[in-house]
């Protein structure tokens, strides 16, 4: 239990995928303009991260490693994740149309998002077991959700203010993102401290 909490906490705060590892920056900057779409995107990311970990971990450990071609990881993972997301979308459209409307366009958008691919590869690199991998992916997804939630709020505030013309658009967004990232750097080492490692 203690280990599970630690893995999730570390993935959410200390190793936040967006703000510390700088993975998945594209949706982070692109879809964070409105809170609704930011939340839709984040929930889709949590979902796809857990699903793709559940699919890629067995492939790596049961198929690639025994055959000595662990180096094919990246290509195989992209292939599998893309196919999986497609399959999930088709199934969702048929069986849970309400959820499909909710996640909508975000599902195909994150098919081979680097954060999704990154979490699968990192699970293998860290040597996590299957359950640990799933926890880590879930934590990474929640970390993404928190980052998106915070940043959508920050952007909303920026937009409704009158600030210099030269900072309009991407400039103010990047500055805000870097300050938010800096604040998350403060969590580094905190998780180890809490759990006395």
């Amino acid at each position: 239990m203690r280990e599970a909490t630690m893995i999730i906490m570390a993935a959410v705060l200390g190793n936040n995928f967006v703000l510390v590892k700088f993975l998945g920056i594209c949706p982070f900057l692109g879809v964070s303009k409105k809170l609704d779409s930011a939340m839709g995107m984040s929930i889709a990311v949590v979902f796809v991260m857990v699903m793709s970990t559940a699919a890629t971990w067995p492939i790596q450990n049961l198929l690639l490693e025994p055959n000595g071609i662990g180096y094919m990881q990246t290509i195989v993972f992209i292939l599998v994740i893309a196919a999986l997301v497609q399959l999930v979308e088709i199934a969702m459209k048929k069986f849970v149309p309400a959820l499909h409307r909710g996640l909508g366009v975000y599902l195909p958008l994150i098919t081979t998002n680097c954060a999704v691919l990154g979490v699968c590869v990192l699970n293998i690199d860290e040597g996590y077991g299957f359950a640990q991998s799933l926890l880590n992916s879930f934590g990474a997804g929640v970390g993404f959700l928190i980052a998106m939630f915070l940043f959508a709020g920050v952007r909303g505030r920026i937009e409704s203010n009158d600030y210099p013309e030269s900072f309009k658009g991407i400039a103010s967004t990047l500055i805000a993102a870097s300050i938010l990232s800096l604040s998350f750097m403060g969590f580094a080492g905190m998780i180890d401290g809490i759990f006395g490692m």
């Binding site: 094919m72 195989v76 048929k94």
Partner: protein, 273 residues
């Protein structure tokens, strides 16, 4: 050699299996798409302006396909009679299109005709100025002129000229977006055949209006007397034309001592090039 063959076989195998699964999934879990909806969607202009009252062209098409009797095919204002006819043909129902409408800005307070009470330097949208003591204009019913309507218009049909919004009737499709965007509620929709309107919305008493604007309606009722068709009436200190009775005769325009009743010149028929 096997160092080469194993990865190729594995990756191709995985790809093949994924492909087969996806094909099967697409076949067995296909959701029937309503074909009528997509045909109607093609007939609509695709501007997603929302004038029909639905969330967009897709939504309107789906509603039409789902309930051809209950949903009127004439709701698409930018598309007008042509689109209504097309939808009617697809669904096999009668499409009696409404007369085309255009936007008209009910204010003629150009900058040299009115005053400003303050020098506003905040965020430049009409909606935000409006919340700040009703805006900088001394007439609180006047066009603010920061162009919320210009931003709302998808057809480049409304512009700010000399401090007030002006509608370009050639481009206006009557989608009502500017009318909805205006925080002053001074953009009215009138029939396109109607070329006369009172360009004032001031409900202030005559003295107040005279004080802040050189052209604003002072409710003198001379237009009422001039009109032979009982089409113009003064209510709440401002004259208003009933578009159904108005014949564009222009008598009220001549009678108005403040020159606030506007007559738009007859448009030349579009010339063929």
């Amino acid at each position: 050699m096997s160092a080469f063959i194993t990865p190729v076989v594995l990756v191709v195998g995985i790809g093949l299996i994924s492909g087969i699964i996806l094909t099967l999934a697409a076949k067995f879990m296909a959701v029937p798409v309503d074909e009528t909806a997509s045909i109607i969607r093609d007939a609509l202009p695709g501007a997603n302006c929302g004038a029909c009252g639905y969330a967009g062209c897709d939504d309107y098409a789906a509603a039409l396909a789902g309930d051809p009797e209950g949903v009127s095919p004439t709701l698409c204002i930018p598309g007008g009679a042509t689109v209504a006819q097309a939808i009617g043909d697809i669904l096999g129902v009668d499409a009696e299109a409404d007369a085309p409408i255009v936007a008209a800005v009910m204010c003629d307070g150009r900058s040299h005709l009115t005053r400003q009470d303050m020098d506003y330097q905040g965020y430049k949208t009409c909606a935000s100025v409006k919340q700040f003591f009703g805006g900088p204009n001394s007439c609180k019913h006047a066009c603010i002129g920061f162009g919320d309507c210009v931003d709302a218009c998808q057809y480049d049909a409304i512009h700010i000229c000399d401090g007030i919004a002006l509608v370009d009737r050639d481009n206006c499709t009557g989608c009502t977006m500017c009318s909805k965007a205006c925080p002053q509620n001074i953009i009215d929709m009138i029939p396109a055949t109607n070329r006369v309107f009172v360009a004032c919305s001031s409900k202030d008493p005559a003295r107040q209006t005279r004080d802040v604007c050189e052209v604003g309606c002072i409710a003198c009722r001379l237009c009422e007397k001039a009109c032979k068709f009982d089409a113009i009436h003064v209510n709440d200190n401002v004259a208003k034309i009933d578009p159904e009775k108005c014949t564009n005769c222009g008598m009220c325009v001549k009678a108005c001592p403040r020159d606030i009743i506007t007559l738009i010149p007859k448009q030349k028929k579009a010339q063929t090039a």
